[in-house]
């Protein structure tokens, strides 16, 4: 009893972190929970049988590489911002955004592959799940790309530099999260077919 009181009694500022960054982490928790729900729904439904098996489109592999590279380029932007190299920040952010858009286009063509394989949104839930999971993830990537464009305009206005890294840190956190999320979802779909 007396031990912990001694430690905490002095009226000092409690330990805190930037509220916006903290909020971003909490937001990522909610996004993760949506996908955790979908993947557990997938497992529960699959366990009940009547589950059609099909190959995932090969394009998913390419897209996975694309989104992982985009994480590297955004990290490059972040490191450049730390060194006040604003031109590289802009270039790297633009490349990241283009890769992000490329990822979404790739996902769209992957869907087209699924359709040629006659796996449609409507049909056995095994196929519907792939559309819903990748589609919802794509929607979040779209949000991420918009976030990148906002970051780009902030960089343009000189709001991102080595003394003001919050914006780019938060954007990078979210973007890495989206990449990691896709990696998880893809592995999940590969392992539980």
């Amino acid at each position: 009893m007396s031990v912990d009181i001694k430690i905490v009694e002095e009226p000092k500022q409690p330990m805190t972190m930037n509220p916006k960054k903290f909020g971003m982490w909490l937001f990522m928790v909610t996004v993760f929970m949506v996908f955790a729900a979908l993947s557990s729904a997938y497992i529960v439904r699959r366990a009940e049988g009547n589950w059609s098996y099909f190959e995932l489109p090969a394009l998913f592999w390419v897209n996975t590489v694309v989104i992982l590279i985009s994480s590297i380029t955004l990290q490059w932007a972040y490191v450049s911002a730390k060194r006040d190299n604003l031109e590289s920040v802009k270039i790297a952010t633009i490349i990241t955004a283009i890769l992000g858009i490329g990822f979404m286009v790739g996902q769209y063509f992957a869907w087209a592959d699924l359709v040629t394989n006659s796996i449609h949104l409507v049909g056995n839930p095994s196929g519907s799940f792939v559309y819903i999971i990748s589609g919802l993830h794509g929607a979040h990537v779209l949000g991420g790309v918009i976030y990148l464009l906002i970051l780009l305009s902030a960089t343009q206005k000189g709001l991102v530099h080595s003394k003001s890294l919050n914006r780019i840190e938060m954007c990078a956190t979210y973007w890495h999260f989206l990449g990691g999320l896709w990696l998880y979802l893809f592995l999940f779909l590969l392992l539980y077919r």
């Binding site: 909610t30 729904a41 009940e48 949104l121 819903i132």
Partner: protein, 625 residues
């Protein structure tokens, strides 16, 4: 609308009293305000509106259940076509009434109205912050809720009626518009409204957690936080983890309804026609739904428990008994709430072994719940109890939590559940333990913090009358329902007149309905008291209840920013009531130990040196011993 008009008036009133200059215009101050206190009042007023509507809906279907032969022709001016030509309630509309009553009460009143009001109001005031972490997101949270409310409200008036598949919206009933009229447009609007509601809850929850962790004033360590804040903290975390799951469930349902997928649908014939849906699982929806649905019970209940902890300690003039045990039990309840969902599904054909595991986990919840009740009672024990309306409602909460909780032990048992599942016994159980207990917590909070919200006191006598009628009324409504449930009355049936066994219970059903009407009528005493006191109530002193927490150190009508000067620092826990040797029977959190040498314990005297370090000119009092 009504909400806006009221706000306008409230604030003009405070304006006249305070003579303080407001920045911004009417719209930014009162409507699209980013001030947590205004947002809290917006949530409260909207919540009260919904509570009244939800209560009225329940009385309409109680009329049908209590007086199945009576003519409801007199309701035609209000309900129009929902009264059949022979003066009866339309049967599908009955289902819609039950559905909307549940949805409104669980989500719009006891989630948004309770958490939204008190988390917003109390978190910054009690932890010593100027406002929420993000005022803008907080404002968005309210307006998402408002939009959701508008959509849900409009759905009451469409020609096919609001959603009718029960508040749990189980498919296939909710997924097929052909099934009942309530599964048509009404269900679509329900889903849209709930999606917006989820966004609102998540924005709110993110803000509450961020604020509690990052915005506390100097000295406000976790072990000095009031239990209200702990309760809001756990509530927000539960919401953050469970609402996304409801979102996922609703998303799949939307695809089933509108895009022809088969997540939840399989092998269904309607009027001899086979539907194209193939390969879905209706049980899947139940898993997803109850993964939210059960934590939702605690999202509703924990804030009420936190509020009553604070009020009971204050009005017993005693420290809360077992402060850390209270926190621990809330944490334990929060963890358990995620691993008991399948007790809602014992009769879905689940593996009996799995059933026993979920049964065990469910029954373990009785342990932290009992700890809480024990602590409430021991806090009351030999206290100098002041029966303020807030205190009465808090004690009422403890009573409901106990009586309703005990029936949970029956229902949590997977064997007994086979008999009791889907009967009025379940209805009685959750209306007492979750519905009434949380409602009483909300009422207690309104009575207790009304002086801080509006700068005036509510009338004690009317509050006491409101309490007694509601308290007796609630027991009269829900106690008989246990018997009706054990007798085998299923929930959600329109009428029991065709079953011979039911005739012996007709009187009991009538009694329940009369009690329900009386209980609803008593709420108008509250409404009068609430709105009358807002303008004409006695002016509140700065600290009307002699309470210790920081919100009572603000001016009578705190302006944006809450404290005119520096935010007070915190030196002690919030429950120093009736401390031996102290001059008064309470010592607020912002009073340093150096000012209270007469009541300090030896280890607290040691703290004095820490307090004054770096603060030159202050007197250092050495330890007494």
């Amino acid at each position: 609308m009504a909400t806006t008009a009221t706000h306008h008036d409230i604030h003009h009133d405070t304006h006249a009293d305070e003579h303080e200059h407001h920045e911004g215009n009417f719209w930014t101050n009162y409507i699209f305000s980013q001030d947590h206190k205004v947002i809290a009042k917006q949530f409260l007023i909207t919540g009260i509106f919904w509570a009244l509507l939800g209560g009225i809906l329940s009385v309409i279907f109680r009329l049908q259940l209590g007086f199945p032969d009576a003519s409801l022709e007199w309701l035609r001016p209000v309900l129009g076509g929902w009264i059949t030509p022979d003066g009866k309630l339309n049967q599908e509309f009955y289902l819609a009434l039950v559905t909307m009553h549940g949805t409104i009460m669980v989500f719009f009143v006891l989630t948004a109205g309770l958490s939204g009001t008190f988390s917003n109001f109390l978190i910054p005031l009690q932890i010593g912050a100027r406002d929420m972490a993000s005022g803008f997101l907080n404002m968005l949270s309210y307006w998402f809720f408002f939009t959701s409310s508008v959509i849900m409200f409009i759905s009451l008036f469409i020609s096919t009626g609001p959603a009718g598949g029960g508040w749990t919206i189980y498919p296939p009933l909710s997924a097929l518009p052909q099934a009942i009229s309530g599964s048509g447009l009404g269900m679509t609007m329900w889903l849209v409204a709930m999606a917006l509601f989820i966004v609102s809850s998540l924005l709110g929850g993110i803000n509450y957690i961020t604020t509690i962790i990052n915005m506390r004033t100097r000295g406000m360590s976790f072990t000095k936080m009031p239990l209200t804040i702990w309760a809001f903290f756990f509530t927000a975390i539960i919401g953050l983890l469970s609402f996304p799951v409801l979102f996922a469930a609703a998303l799949l349902l939307i695809f089933d309804r509108s895009f022809g997928t088969s997540f939840y649908l399989s092998d269904i014939y309607i009027q001899g026609q086979a539907l194209a849906h193939e390969g879905g699982s209706a049980i899947l929806f139940q898993h997803l739904f109850w993964f939210l649905g059960h934590p939702e019970v605690y999202i509703v209940l924990l804030p009420a428990l936190g509020i009553s902890s604070e009020i009971i300690a204050t009005n017993s003039r005693k420290p809360i008994f077992g402060y850390k045990a209270m926190i621990g039990s809330m944490l334990f309840i929060a963890i358990l709430s995620f691993i008991v969902w399948a007790h809602h599904m014992f009769v879905t054909g689940m593996n009996p072994f799995l059933g026993s595991i979920f049964m065990l986990l469910t029954l373990i919840i009785a342990v932290p719940s009992a700890v809480k009740i024990f602590n409430y009672v021991t806090t009351l024990w030999r206290g100098n109890i002041r029966f303020t309306p807030g205190m009465l409602f808090s004690i009422g909460l403890v009573s409901f939590f106990l009586t309703g909780g005990i029936t949970g032990i029956f229902l949590g048992n997977s064997a007994i559940d086979i008999q009791l599942h889907d009967t009025y016994f379940v209805v009685a159980h959750f209306h007492l333990v979750m519905g009434s207990a949380s409602f009483f917590g909300m009422m207690a909070g309104v009575y207790h913090w009304f002086p801080k919200m509006f700068g005036r006191m509510m009338d004690h006598r009317l509050g006491a009358i409101h309490f007694w009628i509601t308290f007796v009324g609630v027991y009269l409504v829900f106690f008989p329902l246990h018997y009706i449930g054990i007798a085998g009355f299923p929930r959600r049936y329109y009428s029991f007149t065709n079953f011979a066994f039911s005739s012996g219970f007709a009187d009991l059903n009538m009694l329940v309905s009369v009690a329900a009407i009386l209980t609803l009528a008593a709420q108008f005493i509250f409404l009068f008291n609430f709105f009358y006191s807002m303008f004409r109530g006695k002016l509140a002193p700065a600290n009307p209840w002699n309470s210790n927490t920081l919100e009572w150190t603000t001016p009578r009508n705190p302006q944006h920013g809450n404290w005119p000067g520096e935010i007070p620092a915190v030196y002690r826990w919030p429950y120093d009531y009736s401390k031996p040797g102290a001059k008064e029977d309470f010592i607020p959190q912002n009073v340093p130990y150096s000012e209270t040498p007469e009541s300090n314990l030896p280890h607290e005297n040691d703290q004095i040196k820490l307090e004054s370090s770096g603060d030159s000119g202050s007197i250092v009092i050495g330890p007494k011993h």
